[in-house]
Point group: C2
């Protein structure tokens, strides 16, 4: 019994209710002059990352978001401008607003276009860090659309054959509605491993796996400290490098946003980012009825998950299924935050006069 | 001087003029009742694969294409039916025609839709093996469009975590017009390595690299014979597996074509394939002028190729650049064919009363 209690305490230690974190993050953003509805949007994006277990895009970003707002390199109250040059295409000028606000607006526009034209593409320029792409495709998938969200990002990754940071770890998220939840929501960066994992390894003084990163001379390294000075590598070699580059062509070149190594980092408080995104929505009843689509997708999902696993694996998972499982668990048990992040958020709350929530109690 | 002559002979040995091979392949297909223009289309697709150095999709496929035509599991004279349910979307029912004929028609439709709507998506059902995706995006890119071609394929690949063939090595090709040639044409399968490379290793009794394939029990293997009995692996682990799966969702589920492990192989002469594709075309002047797009894309390309390479690499290449280089060289020197392929083609020619071209002479 003592063991069970200890284990339960372990589960609940440092866990916070997701709604309480949402309220906190929204209040912090409102204190930085963001209108309530927009603050809620950004807070939902950050908390969704935490729920899905993608800590690198979670509340750890809130301090730098607020620093950028206070430094006036992000516009708290943008006048987002939407132009529709073609029946299936719109350009969303983000007016340097917060990425989640601009990006969500763009996905809504893509959905509107798709209703009429079958498919809708919204290009976005003059935006900022958009958090997790899952946030946008989830919105569209819940409304019954197939959806895709991509973004460029500041350079952190060497291209295939290159030794310097050139590409962002440009993310791509794809959502497929499944008739009834859970829907398929796949969200990935185009790097082998998140930079956050290398930072964690450096703190623990543990080597990183081969193939994750290059040192500053372009030599593959397993030393996390050298890796942080060098560049992360794209997933899947030349193919992943190409995918990351092509995401930049669409998000940056096509939309008139910044592209390539010109994107400024979040940490540079003296420069705008001018991040570009592309949101695409597709009607699932494009060629067959919704009922037929729902039946067929259910069938394919069932076939994949019934496919025999390799030794040591319980069953084959759908793309994005690990994150969906994490979300269900974290919604119930609460979101686990590291001591460092909690300290930063407490400090942020103190300065804004916003109370950081207490830990979730053991029911 | 003797060395130089020998080396020149080596270059020209077993090389064939690409136009002569085009004429030959077209004549073979016409002998199998394919109309001249369609025969030319398929021949161009196969020869393009040879030019780009993708032997696995080249003339080696001509014998099985003709066997399928003679067995009446592919329709030599399809009535391709195009319906346009939405302003930016069309469904192309291939009537079981040759993949290159149906696929090219679909890309043309996607381009027509894009002219009016900004973006056009053509779903394809009841098609067949479509050869290299580069063929379709090249057509669109030459007309100034950004383009994407994807297809599903019979199961050859284990999904991430799975041990049995479930996914096709579903290809994805993307083209970006560059203002003036060469354009960017990227074409990849979603497997780590082509099955053709494993066949070659098995013939030479040489081990394959770790990570390419599983044996029939789902254990990673470097034995090419075991690998051929087992399954190839997706590129980039879980991410590449997800991409391959999502290609099947779009190409198969959305379009009403076959999907998952239900696709029949090319070699099964008793069953239709019902392959599905999706072709997407996007106006490059969607949000900015063509001149601006051309200038920006040129800038990004120049920045990438000027980016410092890793030790041992001459310079960073654009996606698809190795294939473009191969194409330029093979167009000039002639296409190199293996003895086995030449014997098969000679035999095919004899039976159809079509003369296989002689080797390209040393100029």
């Amino acid at each position: 019994m003592i063991g069970q209690t200890a284990s339960l305490q372990g589960i609940f230690a440092d866990r916070y209710d997701s709604d309480a974190l949402l309220t906190y993050a929204s209040a912090i953003l409102q204190h930085a002059n963001v209108p309530p509805q927009d603050a809620q949007t950004v807070a939902r994006n950050l908390v969704l990352a935490e729920l899905r277990g993608v800590d690198s895009h979670g509340l750890i970003r809130l301090p730098v978001y607020t620093r950028r707002l206070h430094a006036n390199v992000v516009n708290a109250r943008p006048l987002i401008n939407v132009t529709r040059p073609f029946a299936a295409a719109a350009l969303v000028d983000g007016d340097n607003g917060l990425g989640a606000v601009v990006g969500l607006r763009a996905m809504e526009v893509a959905m509107e276009l798709a209703i009429g034209a079958g498919i809708g593409i919204a290009g976005v320029c003059r935006s900022n860090h958009f958090g997790v792409g899952a946030f946008y495709v989830e919105k569209a998938v819940n409304a019954g659309f197939i959806a895709c969200a991509i973004s460029n990002a500041p350079p952190n990754m060497a291209p295939f054959g290159g030794r310097e940071r050139f590409l962002g770890t440009n993310p791509f998220a794809i959502g497929i509605p499944a008739g009834s939840p859970p829907h398929l929501i796949f969200d990935a960066s185009s790097s082998v491993a998140a930079r956050g994992k290398i930072i964690a390894a450096a703190k623990a003084n543990q080597p990183i796996p081969a193939g994750w990163a290059l040192d500053p001379k372009g030599i593959p390294t397993t030393d996390p400290h050298e890796a942080l000075l060098g560049a992360v590598l794209p997933f899947g070699g030349a193919k992943g490098s190409a995918i990351s580059f092509l995401i930049d062509v669409l998000s940056g070149v096509l939309t008139s946003a910044a592209f390539g190594p010109r994107l400024n980092t979040l940490e540079n408080l003296k420069a705008l980012q001018d991040v570009g995104h592309v949101m695409i929505a597709i009607r699932r009843d494009l060629f067959i009825s919704t009922e037929e689509f729902n039946g067929r997708i259910k069938e394919l999902f069932a076939m994949l998950t019934a496919s025999p696993p390799v030794p040591g694996v319980e069953r084959v998972l759908l793309p994005g299924e690990p994150e969906l499982r994490a979300e269900a668990q974290n919604r119930e048990l609460g979101i686990s935050l590291s001591k460092e992040v909690v300290e930063e958020l407490l400090d942020l709350g103190n300065r804004a006069g916003v109370t950081f929530p207490s830990q979730k109690s053991c029911m």
